[in-house]
């Protein structure tokens, strides 16, 4: 069994099914349609995905899940990336539901997970603040104890699907500094004192600015232990960073296809441009970045799947994916020159979303920091 980089049969089947499904249901026009749209995402498509059993796949069986492993769902994210499917798989399942599954009380899990698995409810994380910092130090939104509950004050940015979410998981500071004193709260975005505003952004994603002004939250809506949420939050975000990297891999495969296809077809100076060494360099730039990221991401996923420490591996994967996301699309644009610059051409869809992915869950520098902290410990 040892040293094998291939999926098992079930996983391969999921990959194939996902590839077919997304190819059919999520053509590039769908991604275009939901770009900075008024609707967060196509709810009926989300329902279809729920019906396929993919939303609750990794949830425990007692909460209507399938108890599948991390690697079992890996291929779905690769394919979601390839197709630019405009659904919040990563945000609502890879992050939101994963936080609930990991840190929630039995009541919280019961209230949320089956409904999430069914595609009826949505929970997303609100962590980034106007400071723009990743990591625990970036969490400064205040949560002050009042009676049994807390009062929250502050602003969160880049919050996914706040217009649709039933609950936001708001990371707040209940005291302490750094990793100590971070607490997660389940907040209803329609609660008094919460205001949300969709912010137009380069990837066209449903990302919101969320302002909390004296928002009262009950003790029952604390997710995990007060002041001790960071390690589990970080672990979930790092796992999600691996899923984000898997999306970059899927997208990269498509970008490579587009670039190579164009290089073979486009004739300049009397021959296909793909015969020019410069274009061959650009195409292999894409392929090298893709291959490296693919290997690092699969390795990190395997570490997670097999229950080993994975922070270093996940950090290397996401650092590579962040760099690759920019590098692959840039090289593909250089292959295309003028035509790639046109809105009508699909390559740019990857470029714009790729920019979000580059930042999402930590940019390369953030993950270099984590990897080096692990290595130099």
């Amino acid at each position: 069994m040892a040293i094998d980089l291939n999926f098992n049969e079930e996983q391969q089947l999921i990959c194939n099914t996902a590839k077919e499904f997304f190819a059919k249901r999520c053509p590039p026009e769908l991604a275009r349609k939901y770009e900075n749209s008024t609707e967060d995402f196509p709810r009926e498509l989300w329902k279809e995905i729920a019906d396929l059993g993919w939303l609750g796949m990794t949830f425990p069986v007692e909460y209507d899940g399938l108890g599948c492993s991390f690697l079992d769902t890996y291929g779905i994210y690769v394919e979601a990336g390839r197709s630019l499917a405009p659904v919040p798989l990563l945000e609502a399942i890879g992050i939101g539901a994963a936080l609930v599954a990991r840190m929630g009380s039995a009541d919280q899990k019961q209230a949320l997970l089956p409904a999430i698995a069914a595609g009826d409810k949505l929970v997303t994380l609100a962590i980034m603040e106007p400071d723009g910092s990743y990591g625990a130090n970036g969490v400064t939104l205040t949560a002050v104890k009042q009676g049994d509950g807390f009062v929250l004050d502050g602003t969160k940015l880049l919050v996914a699907c706040a217009g649709t979410a039933d609950r936001l998981i708001v990371a707040a500071r209940t005291g302490g500094a750094g990793e100590d004193g971070v607490t997660l709260f389940l907040v209803d975005p329609k609660a008094a004192g919460v205001s949300i505003e969709r912010t137009k952004n380069i990837g066209g994603y449903p990302l919101y600015a969320v302002t909390l002004a004296k928002v009262a939250v009950s003790a029952a809506d604390v997710l995990g232990a007060v002041g001790k949420a960071w390690p589990a939050t970080e672990a979930v975000m790092m796992q999600a960073a691996v899923l984000q990297s898997a999306m970059v891999v899927g997208a990269g495969e498509r970008v490579l296809e587009i670039a190579v296809g164009y290089a073979k077809e486009r004739v300049q100076f009397g021959q296909p441009i793909g015969r020019h060494q410069a274009v061959q360099y650009l195409c292999t730039d894409v392929a090298i970045a893709l291959r490296n990221t693919s290997l690092l991401t699969l390795h990190a996923a395997w570490k997670i799947d097999s229950g080993q420490p994975f922070l270093r591996e996940a950090a290397l994967a996401k650092a590579s994916a962040s760099k690759a996301s920019a590098k692959m699309t840039f090289a593909a644009h250089e292959v295309h020159a003028g035509i790639g610059f046109m809105i009508d051409y699909d390559l740019q869809l990857y470029t714009m979303r790729g920019k979000h992915w580059e930042y999402n869950l930590g940019d390369a520098r953030h993950h270099y920091e984590i990897a080096v902290a692990q290595a130099a410990a």
Binding site: M128, V267, F330, H333, G338, F341, D363
Partner: protein
Amino acid sequence: MVDFCPDDTPELKAWRLEVREFLHEAWPSKRIFDYDYDEDPAGWEEYKAFWRAVGKKGWVALTWPKEYYGQARSTVEKWILDEEFIAYGAPTYPVIGLAVAAAVLRHGTHEQRLRHLKGIAEATTLWGEGYTEPSAGSDLASLTTRAHRDGDHWVLNGQKTLGTAAHQCDWMFVLARSDPNSVKHNGISAFLVPLDTPGIQMLPLENIGDGQQNQTFFENARIPADCLVGDEGQAWNQIWFGIGGEQLDNAFAAQDTHLMRMVRMLADTISYCKETKRGGAPLTEDPVIRVQLGELMVGVEALRLAALDGYSKAATSGKGGRGALESNLNAAFYKEFWPHYAQVAMEIVGPLAQIQGGKWAQLNGRFEKYFRTSFGNHAGGTSQLKRMVAATRGLGLPR
């Protein structure tokens, strides 16, 4: 004698002040407007009014001969004017008009000069680019748009593409094959084409930098014979490689326009980093960002000095041109450095750089937009082409 100072006389210093004062009056909004990446109608009106005001001062045609609406002023004065425009953040003149002016001044007839240079000098006539075709970008030899002579007219048939802001223009500078039996670079002529000619249609092509380029279709579009500029069939030699061996787009202003924007961007990037705190400290105190800023400063300053060098060579040689090696090296470097700059600036700003507008957009979303426009770095020829030309024409490597 080595001298990088453009205004080392009282007269020149006074000139600099004059320009500066004018800008405060003529562009008080300090609105950032790049004609090739902006479609806002109000912005266009303000922009056109601004350049008409510059034109009225005679400053578009500052260095042209007096008989053709110019002021015959020195290139150093032009440089000072440009520097002030950069420093102030004023918008740049649409580059094609300047290329047309260069071509007409060099290869046009007296009548053509009288007729066309006025509108360019006064910024009342805007010109669009008509070189690029769907199958002929940098590869001019593949040009298929044809012009055939019919009495005292030329008749154009074919299609041009990627005409930046052509929908805003009145005229187009069109390259077409006038000799149907010619191949490659021979038999191509240059035409000054009024865009209201029957038989010309335009379709918009939107780009990811918020700009509009266009497809222009010519179907038996008849233009008067005197629209031919330069010798028939000689556009490759006279126009495309006409100015000191450079390509048309580099000839006068395209690169300098982009340079100006980059100098402005660098100033804004540094200010942003001074004013923006992360984790309690200004970004300028972050050691990694300091390295990034330093590297950006080196690149921008090298480009600024390369432009100065171009001016110096133009002034010395009197030919108005830079060498094939230097200009193509600069162009290649610029075309690679621009997207690099944009990428690094986005990295410095961090995740909030994604936001395009509203309260949370950083520097009013300008980093993000600069990033998107940087994918337009192919305009005027890819860096690959510039390197190839630099290597073969400049360094003498075999073709």
